[in-house]
Amino acid sequence: MTATLLIRTGRLRRARRRMAVIGGALILLLAGFALTLMQGQSFVPPGDVLRVLAGHDVPGASFTVGQLRLPRAALSVLAGLSFGLGGAAFQIMLRNPLASPDIIGISRGASAAAVFGIVVLGIDGPMLSVLAVLAALGVAVMIHGLSHRGGVSGTRLILVGIGVSAMLESFIAYTLSRAPSWDLIEAMRWLTGSVNGAQLSLALPLLVSLAVFGGLLVSRARDLESLRLGDDTAAALGTNVARTRLLVIVAAVGLIAVATAVTGPVAFVAFLAGPIAARILGPNGSVLIPAGLVGALLVLAGDYVGQFLLPTRFPVGVVTGALGAPYLIYLIVRVNRAGGSL
C-alpha cells in the first residue's frame, strides 16, 4: 500500500513538473510573440497592437504590425514548432541526438530539389514546394533503404544520412554554379532559413501540416517513447515497431519539409530543440511537445536577434546556425571521448 502511494506521488510529481515546463514555455512563447509585435524599429503600444489584431485600422501601426511583424512572428512560431517536433521525433526514434533531419540530409533534400526546380526546371510557387516536400520524403526513404540490413540501426542511418547530405550539398553547389544570377536570389531562400518578406497566407500550409503530421506524432508519443527502450523491448511491450517507425518518419519528414518550403532550412533548429527541451524537462515524460515549443522559441528569438540586436541584419538561419554549430562540435567531441561509437 505504501509502495502504491510512493509510485502515485512520484508519478504526480513528474506530471506536475512536466506541466510546469510546458506551461512556462508557452508563457515565454506568448510573451516573445507579443514583444516582437510591439518592439521593432519602432515601438507600438500594446493597445494599438490589440486593435490591429482585432482588425481595426490604426494609422502608423496597421502596416508595421499587421503586414510586417505579425506574419513574421506567426511564421517563426509555426515553422519553429514544426522543426522542433520533427527533429525531436527523429532523435527519439533513433535514440541519438545526431539523428536530426538537418544532419542526416532530409532538409538538404528539400533544398536541393528546390534549387534544381528553380534553376533547371524554372518552376516556382506551390509547385516548387510540392517538389521539395516530395524530395525530402524521397531522401528519407532512400536513407532508410540504404541503411537497411536486417533491421535499421540508428548509427548506420546517421552515417548514411551524413554521406547523402554531403552528396546533396555538392549537387546544390554544382546547380548554383550554372545558375543565371537572377535565379540566385530565389534559390538562396532555400539555402538559408529566413522569414524575411513573410506573408500571412503562408501560415496556412504550416497550420495544416502541424494539425495533420504534428497531431499524428503527438498521438503516437507513447509508442515513440517506448522505442527509447530499444526495438526489442518496445516490441515486447506491444509496440508495433515497424509501423510506428514508418508513421514517425512520414510525419516528421512532412513537418520538416513543409516548414522548409515556407522558411527555408532554418539551420540547426530541428537539431537543437530536442536536446535543449530534454535538458530542461529532465526525466519527466516525452520530450516531443516541449521540443516543439523550444523550436518555436528558437526561431522567434533568433529572428529578433538577427533583425535588431546585431550590427547588420541577418536572416534567422544565420543566428541559429551560429548557435547550433558549437553544440554539434561538442556532441562529436563527447562521442569521441566515449570511445568512438555513436
Binding site: A3, I7, G10, R14, R95, G150, R222, A235, A236, L237
Partner: protein, 265 residues
C-alpha cells in the same frame, strides 16, 4: 496457474540468408519453469526471439493459445506474454519508477488514462523485486544486479502469465545470479507464472528449472526433467565436453563437473 499455452511447431528461422533454426518443435509446460541450454550460436536466443514474436519464422509457427503469434496484434500478445531481451537499454536519466511504469504500456491505448490499478501493478512489481527503495533513483546509477532486478520489475508490471527471459543472469556476479533465479522461482510459485529462459550455466539451469531443453545446431537435442537431460552423453553432444554428473548435495538435482585435460585426480 497459467491459463495460456505456448508451443512451437516445425520452426525454421534465421537472419538474412543464414538459417539458424532447422525445424523445431516444443511445447512449453504451463505454470512451470523451462530453461533452454546449449553452446554459443546453437540458436537459443533465436528460438526465444521467435517465440516472443520479435523474429518472424521462415516456416512453421509459434502458437499462443492455439493462434499463430505472428498474426496476432502486438499489444494483445504483450498483455499475455512478457519478454526481457538480452541487453535492454535504458534511456539516459530515467528513474526506476518511470522505467517500471513502462511495463503498463500494453494495457493502454492512445486515449486511455493511467489508473490506480496501474500504480498498484507497478508497486507490486517493485515489491516483488525488492526495488521499492530504488524507485526514485536513476537507472544508470544502479549496480548490475540492481539494474537487472529493475528490468525484471518492468516485465512483472506487465502482469503477464508468460514470462520469457534471454540470459537474465549474464554479467551478474554469482550472488546476484542466484537472487534473480530465486525471484523468478518465487514468481512461479506464487502466481503460477510460466517462465521460459535461456541460461548459460548448466548447473543453475538444472537446479532451478522444472524442464530442461538442450539444443544443438538449431535443433532440439533433448528435453525433459533435469535428471533426464543432464547426462554425460548429452553434455558431450551439446557442448563437446567430457563431464561427470553427480547429485547436487544441496538440491538433489544433477550437477555437472567438467573434465578437462589438466588437474584431474
Amino acid at each position: 496457474m497459467s491459463r495460456h499455452s505456448l508451443s512451437v511447431h516445425g520452426l525454421v528461422a534465421g537472419y538474412g540468408d543464414r538459417t539458424i533454426l532447422h525445424g523445431l518443435d516444443l511445447d512449453v509446460l504451463p505454470g512451470r519453469i523451462t530453461a533452454i541450454v546449449g553452446a554459443n550460436a546453437c540458436g537459443k536466443s533465436t528460438l526465444l526471439r521467435s517465440m516472443s514474436r520479435l523474429l518472424t519464422p521462415r516456416a512453421g509457427q509459434v502458437l499462443l493459445d492455439g493462434k499463430a503469434i505472428h498474426k496476432m496484434p502486438p499489444r494483445r500478445v504483450a498483455q499475455v506474454m512478457g519478454l526481457l531481451p538480452q541487453s535492454p537499454t535504458a534511456p539516459e536519466g530515467i528513474t526506476v519508477a518511470d522505467l517500471v511504469s513502462r511495463g503498463r504500456h500494453p494495457h493502454h491505448g492512445i486515449l486511455s488514462r493511467w489508473s490506480p490499478a496501474d500504480d498498484a501493478a507497478v508497486a507490486a512489481a517493485l515489491e516483488a523485486t525488492r526495488t521499492v527503495e530504488l524507485a526514485e533513483r536513476a537507472v544508470d546509477e544502479l549496480s548490475g544486479g540492481q539494474r537487472q532486478r529493475v528490468w525484471i520489475a518492468m516485465a512483472l508490471a506487465q502482469q503477464t502469465d508468460l514470462l520469457l527471459l534471454d540470459e537474465p543472469t549474464t554479467f551478474l556476479d554469482i550472488s546476484h545470479q542466484v537472487e534473480v533465479l530465486d525471484l523468478l522461482t518465487d514468481l512461479n510459485h506464487r502466481r503460477g507464472t510460466t517462465v521460459v529462459m535461456v541460461l548459460h550455466d548448466l548447473n543453475l539451469a538444472a537446479r532451478y528449472a522444472d524442464h530442461l531443453v538442450a539444443m544443438v545446431g538449431g535443433r532440439l537435442h533433448a528435453q525433459g526433467t533435469p535428471e533426464a537431460v543432464l547426462t554425460a552423453e548429452n553434455v558431450r553432444a551439446v557442448f563437446g565436453l567430457d563431464s561427470r554428473i553427480i547429485p547436487d548435495p544441496t538440491s538433489g538435482r544433477p550437477m555437472m563437473l567438467p573434465i578437462g585435460r589438466h588437474r584431474m585426480a
